[in-house]
C-alpha cells in the first residue's frame, strides 16, 4: 500500500510472513462487479452445455430409474446381505456428508477466525455443502428399505403414539443431517441476498429482473439492513461452525454405538470429522481448479488461494494418518482378539486388503507431497492428488463399513459383498445431480460473493488517502 510511511514499512513483517491480502487487486468497485458477474451475464459456453447434459443425464435418468427400481422391488436389489447389511448406501452417505464439511469449514469457521482470504471461495464452498448434503440426505431415506415409512423418523403425533426412540444415535443422525441441510442452505441463501439484488439491478431482461428481484426480497443495501445482515451472518457462521464438529461426530457415533470390532471405538466421532474435512478439501480443489479457469476467475481465485487449501488438506491428511496409526495401536494394545483380527486383516487379509493400503498410501501419505511448494503450485498435480484423495476417502468408508462387517464374531456368518448395478447407478446418479446443481449454480449465481469482495477490496477502506483512490481502472 502506498500510504505506509518508511518507518511503518520497517516494522512490517517480512514478505513471506505477511498475510495474503483478501483481494489481490487494487481495482475499482465497478471492475469487481463486472468481472464477477461476467460469467452469469455472458453467453452460455459450450463446455457448460456439454457438462450439463452429461450430469443431467445422471440426475434425471439414471438416478430416478435406479431409485424407482430399488424402492419398488426392495433392498434386495442392492448387494447388501448378511453379515454386510450396510453397503454402498451408507458408504456414499458418509462420503457425501464428508464432502459437505469442508464447505462449512471454509465459509463459516474461517470467517469466524478472520481468515479474509476465504472471502473469494466462501460461497463456492458453501454451495458444495448444500448440494452434497442433499445427496447425503437421500441415502438414509432409501436405505431404510420401506421408504414410504420414512415419516416414522420424525416426531409426528399420530393416533398410535408412535414416537422416535431418542436413545439411539441413528435417531440423532436424522436431526443432525436435516439441521445441516437447513442451516447450510439458510447461510448460503442469506449470503446471496445482496448479490441477488445486484443481479436484479443489472438485469437486462424482464424474466431475469423478476426472478432475481423476487429472491432478493427487495434488498436496498441501506446501512440499517447491512447492520442487521452482518450480525446475522456472524451468528449463522457461529452456528454453522458448531455443525462442522457435530454432524460427522454423530455419524461416527452411529458406528461407535455398535458392538462390531472395527466400529466400537471412542475415537470415531473425531475420526469422522477429520475424514470428512480431508475429503471435502479434496472436493473443493476438484471443483475450483477447473472452474476458476473456465469461468475466467484466475485473477480472483489465485494460486495463493489454492496454496492455502493445499496446506489445509495437508494438515487434515496428517491428522488422518495419525488416527489410522492410533487405531492400529489400540487394536494391538487392547489385547482384544476381535479388534486384532479386523485390523490385521485390513492390511494382510484376503478379501479387501486393497482398501486398507489405499487408506494408508493415498489418504495419509499422498497429500504429504503438499509439503513441497512446487507441487502446490502445479495445478495439474494438485488436481490429480485431490481427485485421487476423494476416491481414497471413499475407500476409507468402504474399509470401515464392509471391512468390519464381512467377518464378524461367528465364522459361520462370514460373507463377502459385491455392489450391484443398482448400487452403482444410485451413486452415479447422485454424482450427476451434484455436478448438475453445481453447474446451474455457477451459471446463474455469482460464484464469488461480489459484495463481500468489494467490502474487503482496498477501495472500501474508508481511511485510504484520497491521493491513491481509484487505483487501477
Amino acid at each position: 500500500m502506498a500510504d505506509t510511511s518508511t518507518s511503518l514499512e520497517s516494522l512490517a513483517p517480512p514478505a513471506e510472513l505477511r498475510r495474503l491480502p483478501p483481494v489481490p487487486q487494487d481495482r475499482s468497485l465497478g471492475w469487481f462487479t463486472d468481472k464477477l458477474t461476467a460469467f452469469n451475464e455472458g453467453k452460455t459456453p459450450l463446455w457448460w452445455w456439454v457438462g450439463f447434459f452429461i450430469t443431467a443425464f445422471g440426475a434425471t435418468v439414471i438416478l430416478p430409474v435406479t431409485l424407482i427400481y430399488k424402492i419398488s422391488v426392495g433392498v434386495g436389489v442392492w448387494g447388501n446381505n448378511m453379515p454386510v447389511m450396510w453397503g454402498w448406501d451408507i458408504i456414499n452417505f458418509v462420503w457425501w456428508v464428508g464432502v459437505a464439511h469442508a464447505g462449512t469449514l471454509i465459509s463459516a469457521m474461517l470467517f469466524l477466525t478472520r481468515q479474509h482470504w476465504r472471502t473469494v471461495i466462501g460461497r463456492a464452498a458453501e454451495a458444495m455443502t448444500v448440494f452434497s448434503v442433499m445427496m447425503a440426505g437421500l441415502y438414509p431415506g432409501i436405505h431404510v428399505g420401506r421408504a414410504w415409512f420414512d415419516w416414522f423418523m420424525f416426531p409426528i403425533p399420530t393416533y398410535e403414539d408412535m414416537w422416535p426412540q431418542f436413545r439411539s444415535p441413528l435417531m440423532w443422525d436424522v436431526f443432525a443431517v436435516n439441521t445441516y441441510l437447513i442451516i447450510s442452505s439458510t447461510f448460503w441463501y442469506m449470503g446471496l441476498i445482496p448479490d441477488l439484488a445486484l443481479m436484479r439491478d443489472r438485469a437486462k431482461t424482464r424474466v431475469r429482473k423478476f426472478l432475481y428481484g423476487l429472491f432478493a426480497l427487495g434488498w436496498t443495501g441501506s446501512a440499517r439492513q447491512w447492520h442487521n445482515y452482518e450480525k446475522a451472518y456472524l451468528v449463522l457462521s457461529g452456528l454453522a461452525t458448531l455443525l462442522v464438529f457435530t454432524v460427522s461426530s454423530i455419524v461416527g457415533m452411529d458406528f461407535a454405538t455398535a458392538q462390531i470390532a472395527g466400529w466400537h471405538e471412542t475415537i470415531f466421532p473425531f475420526y469422522f470429522v477429520a475424514g470428512a474435512v480431508t475429503c471435502g478439501f479434496g472436493m473443493v480443489l476438484v471443483l475450483l481448479i477447473p472452474l476458476r479457469k473456465l469461468c475466467h476467475l484466475e485473477d480472483i481465485i489465485t494460486l495463493a488461494h489454492i496454496d492455502k487449501i493445499c496446506k489445509m488438506t495437508l494438515m487434515m491428511a496428517s491428522i488422518m494418518g495419525y488416527i489410522y496409526l492410533v487405531e492400529f495401536f489400540i487394536a494391538w494394545y487392547s489385547g482384544n482378539p476381535y479388534d486384532a483380527w479386523v485390523f490385521g486383516h485390513r492390511m494382510f487379509g484376503h478379501q479387501y486388503v486393497y482398501g486398507g493400503w489405499i487408506m494408508l498410501l493415498i489418504n495419509a501419505s499422498l497429500p504429504q507431497l503438499f509439503w513441497i511448494k512446487r507441487v502446490r503450485q502445479n495445478l495439474w498435480l494438485v488436481f490429480v492428488i485431490a481427485f485421487v484423495l476423494n476416491i481414497g476417502m471413499w475407500f476409507e468408508r468402504f474399509v470401515i463399513i464392509v471391512g468390519s462387517l464381512y467377518q464378524d464374531f461367528l465364522p459361520a456368518n462370514w460373507g463377502v459383498y459385491y455392489p450391484t448395478w443398482v448400487d452403482i447407478g444410485v451413486f452415479v446418479g447422485t454424482l450427476g445431480a451434484f455436478f448438475m446443481l453445481y453447474l446451474l449454480f455457477v451459471r446463474f449465481l455469482p460464484m464469488v460473493p461480489v459484495s463481500e469482495v468489494k467490502g474487503v477490496s482496498p477501495e472500501a477502506n474508508t481511511h485510504r488517502p484520497a491521493a491513491v483512490k481509484g487505483g487501477q481502472p
Binding site: 440423532w172 439441521t179 447492520h227 446475522a232
Partner: protein, 178 residues
C-alpha cells in the same frame, strides 16, 4: 409537500466520501436518514448510532426455546407418553437428550437469526420509493446514496438540499413516495 415525498437523495463516489458526509449530516442534527451502499461501510453504524443489532436476541430466544422444548419433547415421548424399555437404558437421561436438543438449538437459532434479519430489515419488501430512481441501480455496483427522509423534523426541501450540496453530494434529487 412533504406528504408526497420520501426524501432527498444525494449520490457519493466512495465509502470514505459518504462516511464523511454522514458525519456532517449527523452534526447538522438530522435523525431520519440512511446510507445505501454496495457493501457494509464500517464506521457508519457508529455515526448513525445504530448500536448493537437485535438479531442476536432472536438467535438466543429461538435457540433456548428449542433446547428446552426438545428436552421436554423427548421426556414426554420416551418417558411419559409411551415408555418402552430398550436395552435396559433409562427412559429419560441427560446423555440421550442433550445431543438432539443441542442439534435443534442450532437449527432453531439459525432459523431465528434468519427470521430476525428479515424482520428487522422489513423484508421482503419488493417495492421501495428509491427503486423508482434510475441511478439507484448503481448503488449495488459502486455508488453510495445518502437519503434524508422527509419525515425528519428538521427536513426542509431547500435547506436539506443545500446541506447535501455543501457536503459534496452529486445528482441530488427528490425521491417521490409512490
Amino acid at each position: 409537500m412533504s406528504e408526497t415525498n420520501y426524501g432527498i437523495a444525494a449520490e457519493f463516489d466512495s465509502a470514505a466520501d459518504v462516511l464523511r458526509a454522514a458525519e456532517k449530516v449527523r452534526d447538522a442534527g438530522y435523525r431520519r436518514w440512511d446510507v445505501f451502499s454496495p457493501f457494509p461501510v464500517h464506521g457508519l453504524e457508529k455515526v448513525m448510532g445504530l448500536g448493537n443489532s437485535r438479531v442476536g436476541w432472536f438467535a438466543f430466544l429461538f435457540g433456548a426455546g428449542a433446547f428446552i422444548g426438545t428436552m421436554l419433547m423427548i421426556w414426554y415421548m420416551n418417558d411419559f407418553d409411551y415408555p418402552i424399555v430398550i436395552g435396559g437404558k433409562p427412559m429419560f437421561s441427560t446423555p440421550m437428550s442433550v445431543v438432539p436438543s443441542y442439534i435443534l438449538l442450532v437449527l432453531f437459532a439459525g432459523i431465528g437469526t434468519f427470521i430476525g434479519m428479515i424482520a428487522l430489515n422489513e423484508l421482503p419488501r419488493h417495492h421501495h420509493p428509491l427503486f423508482a430512481k434510475k441511478r439507484f441501480a448503481l448503488v449495488s455496483r459502486d455508488k453510495f446514496y445518502l437519503v434524508i427522509g422527509s419525515n425528519d423534523p428538521q427536513f426542509s426541501e431547500s435547506v436539506t438540499r443545500k446541506l447535501l450540496e455543501d457536503i459534496g453530494g452529486q445528482h441530488i434529487e427528490i425521491v417521490e413516495d409512490k
